[in-house]
Symmetry: C2
Subunit: 210 residues, 2 copies
């Protein structure tokens, strides 16, 4: 057994989250998985919050942001948004941990920097670029949370809404659309909204330069 270190602790935490969900994470569980005393963890990690920060940072730094500065900006922001969505694939149950922690580190700011520079190079003004960036962030994070089931009320996916569950008198549309509401191709849905947004923003840019 290799000596205990920060990397092994973070890896064990990510593994535990993916196996049993974020609620199952406790210092005792992680220590048990590593066959180590609980307090030994505190030699490498100051506290649980910092450990979750490290989890978030590690996952974020694994995202592959391959950006071609020569490509048109529309394709670049599409690629960046899709890269970010990969988190929901590679670490679905850690997604909420990643997006809910404030990271002032390089891993957290790199995606922001890339997105902003793409928008600035596309020709958007300072304030405009930030506004558009925020719109994309809102959409991407909202989509991720639906995909991983954090906001299930308005994302009735895994058979949660069935046609005979709802009163068709009170909720005729939900009843009628139940088949479409219960099925969800996350990638297609994500791309649908993403293209819609890009198209709208491209429209604004074109309209302004004329």
């Amino acid at each position: 057994m290799p000596p205990l270190n920060r990397g092994r602790i973070v890896a064990a935490a990510i593994d535990l989250i993916e196996r049993e969900g974020a609620d199952a994470v406790s210092m005792r569980r992680i220590a048990a998985d590593l066959e180590v005393g609980v307090m030994s963890l505190y030699n490498h990690v100051p506290n649980k919050s910092a450990l979750l920060d490290a989890v978030s940072e590690t996952i974020l730094s694994e995202v592959e942001f391959t950006d071609d500065p020569a490509a048109p900006w529309t394709g670049r922001v599409r690629m960046q948004a899709r890269a970010f969505r990969q988190i929901a694939h590679t670490h679905p149950r850690s997604t909420m941990v990643v997006v809910s922690r404030q990271l002032k580190s390089a891993a957290g700011m790199l995606p922001v920097e890339r997105a902003l520079s793409t928008l600035r190079e596309a020709g958007f003004g300072e304030r405009e670029a930030v506004q558009i960036f925020r719109v994309f962030i809102a959409y991407v994070i909202g989509s991720l949370l639906r995909e991983v089931g954090v906001t299930p009320t308005f994302a009735p996916v895994h058979g949660a809404i069935r046609a005979d569950d709802v009163d068709p008198e009170l909720f005729p549309e939900i009843g009628a659309l139940a088949p479409h509401l219960s099925a969800c191709d996350h990638e297609a849905e994500f791309d649908f909204g993403l293209d819609l947004l890009i198209e709208a923003i491209a429209g604004r840019l074109a309209q302004r330069t004329t």
Copy 2:
């Protein structure tokens, strides 16, 4: 002191969340606020999870969805989205609780029903209406979470990012745009993206009917 009942417990929970945040919620704290033994709560609420469901439902049912069926659909979806965003104003620290709980009750499905019927009446197809609905939900929830500070990494608002905090070599855009990144008129930002989305969707509708 009136007798203990479910309504008083839920009200105390909401009050506690708004005063000290969702992490401060515990059955013991709520009982103490009500000057009541801990286990007395369980005569009216089966467990903590059900209590949080009740909190979510109560807040959701307070949202005023005033919908004018005669108005154009663009205005109707704008009004519905804005009404939903009111949650962030009336109960900011409860927002995450509301959006993260699956409600199969009427309070949870009413907004869904309204939005879907609006889109259907606007002329969108079944699958299309659901897709568009999901895009709006993603954007609205993502915006709410940024506004209430649940996803702070990509929403550097309250002075979290200051120009001298970032290395301008590594993050030139963040440094240059720091003033715009630290300030955020949530209502204006929300409406900006909302109008962008509505405009894009209206374009799809017009393009299809021609």
